[in-house]
């Protein structure tokens, strides 16, 4: 936040005899210069009919693909412009919050699960059922699914654009190279099996290799763990749905298998535990199905190309079968959108236009529109087929509902991440770290 004085200003001091007055004058000049330098020209405010501001998140490749597809909306009728406002995921919600406070939200934007209820409750989202009938065509979708997307008082604020579950990713090439070709049956395996497999690979691959990175901070997998114990992140009435023991046992698992040599120690990866960040030091990865395309593309360029395969997530021994869940990428219209009807048409285009099967495929997960999914299958891309097959296998088993985080519940992700940091980098006892996180989340919920 602090700014350094410019070289030209500093050079000018050489021409001064240093006096109290000149010193203060110089200081004042620097402050004024810094103030002016920090001013930024505000982006032009949308309002012209025919322009849709659209914001979404993703890495550069996803930004390129989605941006190209969104821009093609301009060809659907004359006089339409799409103004693209992409961002990396880490800063996306922060930016939306500031825009919401300034009543300057994009007309249409993606919304992650953790904050959708807060935005809806804060009056930032447009109720899509106020749009003229037929603006958004849900006929291709399952009615129950569409109804399940409703929030708060049953309003349709945020239909689901794409969805994904969690799964396990295995580097088959790396495993084959060390002579491991038989994997546990992923319909029946549990976390114990995964830990043993990680140690087996680490042992076979030798020094500098481990089975899996320390992914204790990955909150979606922690969520799966909690559900496998019959608990939930949040109850339907917006309360915390798990206790210290349920989440603490997740960290216990990581500690145990780190000690056994199967997990990359936190010090080695320095908190960078994504598949694309650990440099193939491990052979197993807990993935989200919307990340698999990027992971495979990354591994294609490693050591002549590594083939990745998907397996179902392991389960806690003795758990039921209804624990799987899907996270959603939702599409929203700003409550103060310049032209809600045009924005609705754009959402309809995003949800239903068949060209997305070819141009986007599964770039951001599995499209919620079953017709688009069928169309993607026809292209017979092996990577996409792996993802679609895994999602279909997961969807075959009925799952209990997953309530969205309530207002004030966006800190759930931070809870898991901070507890993992405290435990594996700071040596804080697991029970203490988890209880501190739960207390903080409870405080956030009460304040909201």
């Amino acid at each position: 936040m602090g700014s350094e004085p410019s070289a030209s200003v500093i050079q000018r001091i050489a021409s001064y005899n240093v006096s109290r007055r000149s010193l203060f004058a110089l200081g004042g000049g620097l402050v004024a210069a810094g103030g002016l330098a920090s001013c930024a020209v505000a982006p032009p405010k949308s309002g012209a009919t025919g322009t849709v501001r659209f914001a979404w998140w993703g890495n550069s490749e996803r930004q390129r693909l989605i941006g190209g597809y969104a821009s093609a909306f301009e060809k659907t009728r004359d006089g339409i412009k799409v103004q693209l406002e992409p961002a990396e995921y880490s800063g996306f919600t922060d930016r939306l919050s500031v825009q919401a406070a300034g009543r300057n939200l994009p007309d249409v934007f993606w919304m992650p699960a953790n904050t959708v209820t807060s935005f809806a409750d804060g009056g930032s989202l447009y109720d899509l059922e106020k749009l003229p009938k037929g603006t958004i065509d849900f006929s291709a979708f399952d009615t129950d699914a569409v109804d399940s997307w409703r929030l708060l008082d049953g309003k349709q604020f945020a239909p689901v654009y794409s969805e994904y579950s969690t799964a396990t990713m295995i580097d088959r090439t790396a495993f084959s190279a060390v002579g491991i070709t038989d994997f546990p049956d992923d319909e029946a395996w549990d976390w114990e099996d995964l830990g043993k497999l990680a140690v087996e690979y680490a042992t076979a691959a030798g020094e500098g290799n481990w089975g899996i990175a320390n992914m204790a901070s990955f909150y979606q997998h922690a969520h799966l763990w909690i559900r496998q114990q019959g608990a939930e992140a949040f109850t339907p009435d917006g309360k915390i749905g798990f206790d210290q023991a349920a989440l603490g046992s997740w960290f216990d698992w990581w500690q145990r298998w780190t000690d056994a040599g199967g997990v990359i120690p936190a010090a080695v990866t320095g908190g960078k535990n994504q598949w694309t960040q650990t440099g193939h030091k491990s052979g197993i990865y807990l993935t989200q199905l919307n990340q698999f395309v990027d992971s495979q593309a990354f591994s294609n360029g490693y050591d002549g190309g590594h083939e990745l395969v998907l397996a179902k997530s392991p389960k806690v021994a003795g758990s039921g079968d209804d624990y799987h869940f899907k996270y959603y990428v939702r599409l929203c219209i700003a409550a103060n959108a310049a032209d809600p009807e045009l924005a609705g048409s754009f959402i309809n285009y995003m949800l239903n236009d068949p060209s997305s099967a070819e141009t986007l495929g599964i770039a951001s997960g599995v499209p919620s529109n079953p017709d688009i999914v069928s169309a993607i299958r026809k292209f017979d891309d092996p990577v996409a087929i792996k993802v679609l097959d895994m999602q279909a296998r997961i969807d075959e088993v009925p799952a209990r509902p997953r309530p969205e985080p309530p207002v004030g519940g966006s800190g759930w992700q931070s809870l898991v991440e901070r507890a993992a940091d405290d435990i594996f980098n700071g040596g804080v006892p697991i029970a203490t770290a988890v209880q501190n996180g739960i207390d903080k989340l409870q405080s956030d919920l009460e304040r909201a």
Binding site: M1, G2, S3, E4, P5, A7, I10, Q11, I13, A14, Y16, N17, V18, S19, R20, R21, L23, L26, G27, L30, G35, L36, C39, S90, T93, D94, S97, V98, A100, A101, S118, F119, D121, G122, G123, S124, A266, A267, V268, T269, G270, G271, S410, G411, S414, E417, R418, D421, D422, N425, G426, V428, D444, R447, A448
Partner: protein, 309 residues
């Protein structure tokens, strides 16, 4: 008998053109005045108001009086942690940076060949030091497999840590990053050194003063306004440091809050936790802290700063 002397009325009367000239002045000042009110004074007053509210950015602010300040001082250990981290950063890195800058300025002032090139090279990190790119570079250099560990390994050191991800060392890597940006105070010191009259050194030499004595009795006293100026400038900048911690800790202030700078915590409260009322209160507390330290510096400056006027 009154012998009044009539005042020179002509002299007191305003020239006709003066009012016009003042109006012109205000017209020229208008862009700055508008900018000051809209961009500085307005948000300042707004943030003072918000500091007494519960405001989550999405819903209207609710007045809660001094609750944010009470929570900050009585119920938020992370607030004190962020103060401790920032305090360590400020009180270690600023003196070290100024000492390094002064030492180099004195060395370069001796008329080194290629002075302009050196000056530019040393100033460059000041322009880049607070940038995202350098933060990322730092992350890589001090990582487990980074350049720093590679260097130490080649010297025979073993079991080296991930300096960035170790709570005992992470802050010190950021202090090192700040030391690296000594270029700006160095150039100011060089400018100040050129203002020291050469005859004072000649006189000191005639009196038998050696180099160290000349430095302590001539250079330093005459340089105190510059030292004071640099101190104030770097102190304020260090209290507001944000980018290095944000980039190196990936916006978390970790590991274990060891890089939780005050401004980073303020940012997290405001934009990640949607607790903008609390963040505004933190902003005002920081303003007061900086004001106190700046004021103390001015107060004590009369004991050690020597002005020519």
């Amino acid at each position: 008998m009154a012998t009044g002397i009539s005042p020179p009325t002509r002299a007191l009367r305003r020239p006709k053109s003066r009012g016009k000239s003042q109006r012109s002045a205000y017209v020229f000042l208008l862009p700055w005045i508008i900018g000051f009110v809209v961009i500085t004074a307005g948000p300042l007053v707004a943030s003072l108001f918000l500091s007494f509210t519960d405001y989550n950015l999405l819903e209207p602010a609710t007045w809660i009086g001094g609750e944010n300040y009470v929570t900050m001082f009585t119920g938020d250990p992370r607030f004190y942690k962020s103060l401790a981290v920032t305090g360590t950063y400020v009180f270690v890195s600023v003196p070290l940076q100024l000492i390094g800058a002064l030492a180099l300025a004195i060395y370069l002032d001796k008329g080194v060949r290629g002075l302009d090139a050196y000056r530019s090279a040393y100033y460059l990190p000041s322009l880049l030091g607070g940038s995202v790119a350098i933060g990322l570079l730092w992350y890589i250099v001090f990582g487990y497999n980074g350049g720093f560990n590679t260097l130490l390994s080649s010297l025979g050191f073993e079991n080296l840590p991930n300096w960035i991800n170790n709570p005992d060392t992470s802050l010190w890597t950021l202090i090192l990053l700040n030391l690296w940006t000594f270029g700006a105070p160095m150039i100011i010191f060089m400018a100040g050194l050129r203002q020291v009259p050469a005859e004072l050194y000649e006189q000191a030499q005639l009196d038998g003063a050696g180099r160290w004595r000349q430095f302590t009795n001539v250079t330093v006293p005459l340089l105190t306004p510059i030292i004071f100026f640099n101190l104030i400038l770097q102190l304020i900048a260090a209290f507001q440091a944000f980018t290095p911690a944000f980039v190196v800790s990936r916006g978390t202030g970790g590991p274990v809050d060891s890089t939780m700078f005050y401004t980073l915590y303020l940012y997290l409260e405001g934009f990640t936790e949607f607790n903008m009322g609390y963040a505004s209160a933190m902003g005002w507390v920081l303003l007061i802290i900086i004001g106190i330290f700046t004021g103390l510096n001015f107060l004590f400056s009369k004991y050690w700063v020597f002005y020519n006027d």
